[in-house]
């Protein structure tokens, strides 16, 4: 269950960021989770909502943007989805590749309510 540690860490960072930037109310916290990261979105969602009560994020929503796990074949240069093709280049069959995306686990952005114009 490393999702709980990560959820708590993300929540702490968001609260610090909000404090430093004078943000009083957050509507949605957006996390960016790569397909190749070792984070399971469903567990992350459960952990997030279990950890926010009692914090300023108690009534926030969580959105998770999934980043595809793409790699480029070192032998033929084909860019392909590593999960879908089980790590093997669909063109030449090589397993040698460089990972282009999908390892990230970021706090991407916050959605906050716009002040109504007076």
């Amino acid at each position: 269950m490393h999702e709980m540690t990560l959820a708590i860490s993300a929540i702490k960072s968001v609260i610090e960021f909000a404090r430093d930037n004078d943000i009083d109310e957050i509507d949605t916290v957006v996390l960016e989770i790569g397909e190749l990261s070792l984070v399971v979105p469903q567990y992350m969602e459960d952990a997030y909502y279990a950890a926010v009560p009692g914090t300023m994020l108690e009534h926030t929503k969580l959105r998770m943007d999934i980043v595809p796990g793409n790699g480029i074949c070192r032998d033929c240069g084909k860019v392909y989805n590593i999960i879908e093709h089980k790590g093997r280049c669909p063109v030449c069959g090589s397993e040698s590749k460089d990972i282009l995306s999908g390892e990230e686990f970021n706090i991407k952005e916050l959605l906050v309510l716009e002040d109504e114009p007076e």
Binding site: M1, H2, L6, S9, I107, L111, V112, L113, E114
Partner: protein
């Protein structure tokens, strides 16, 4: 209307900062911290006992045992002559830099040269969290199979040294040593690979040498 405020910061950033701060402090004190990781049953505790025997009289060693809610391993290692502390992690699958710092405080570091963190037996989660260690090592044992680098690539990527343990049983398993090494090096070209048998003592001196060299370099630089 909702307004978007971009942050783009890794969730690991907090832990990474704490880890870097801890590493810098340890460097200042000249205390080497080894993060030792592996699966359960790979022979971590036996390897530690052998390591303590090899380093006896040279380096003062302190060990933090992070096995879940049991003090069996801590007692075994204590009997071998090291100062130990048992970290009860209550079912967590990994240690963070903050937990490692607490462990070092509980252990007391004034009278040791080398602190070893016996991380939780798991090849997945501990690889993700920088503990603040000077170096990381892992143990893969022969019965686990030579395909582990393919299944748990991150662990092999973050380690500086790979110990392949239980070499004494190699004839009884379909473990291809060359394939295991090749797979590990493909992920991590600089990884030091040391085959040992903690049971017979084979290779232990080479591992102890690697560790001696690392501790020395850490204290000098």
């Amino acid at each position: 209307m909702l307004r978007t405020i971009e942050i783009k910061e890794s969730v690991f950033a907090n832990n990474d900062r704490e880890a870097d701060a801890l590493r810098a402090e340890l460097k200042g004190k000249g205390l080497f911290l080894l993060n030792l990781m592996s699966s359960p049953g790979s022979g971590k505790t036996t390897t530690l006992v052998r390591t303590l025997e090899a380093l006896r009289g040279e380096l003062r060693v302190g060990i933090m045992e992070a096995d879940i809610d049991s003090d069996v391993d801590a007692r075994t290692v204590q009997d071998a002559g090291a100062k130990t502390v048992q970290l009860h992690t209550g079912g967590m699958c990994h240690l963070t830099a903050g937990m490692t710092r607490q462990g070092l405080e509980a252990l007391g570091t004034e009278d040791i040269d080398l602190a070893i963190l016996e991380n939780i037996g798991n090849l997945v989660c501990p690889a993700e969290f920088d503990t603040g260690a000077s170096k990381s090592a892992m143990i893969l044992s022969v019965p686990e199979g030579d395909d582990k680098p393919l299944k748990y690539p991150l662990m092999f990527t973050v380690c500086d040294c790979l110990i392949i343990n239980k070499m004494d049983v190699l004839p009884y398993f379909d473990f291809d040593l060359d394939a295991a090494c090749e797979r590990a090096r493909r992920l991590n070209p600089n990884i030091e690979i040391i085959p040992i048998s903690a049971k017979t003592g084979e290779g232990v001196e080479k591992w102890a040498d690697w560790l001696r060299g690392q501790v020395k370099a850490w204290k000098e630089k």
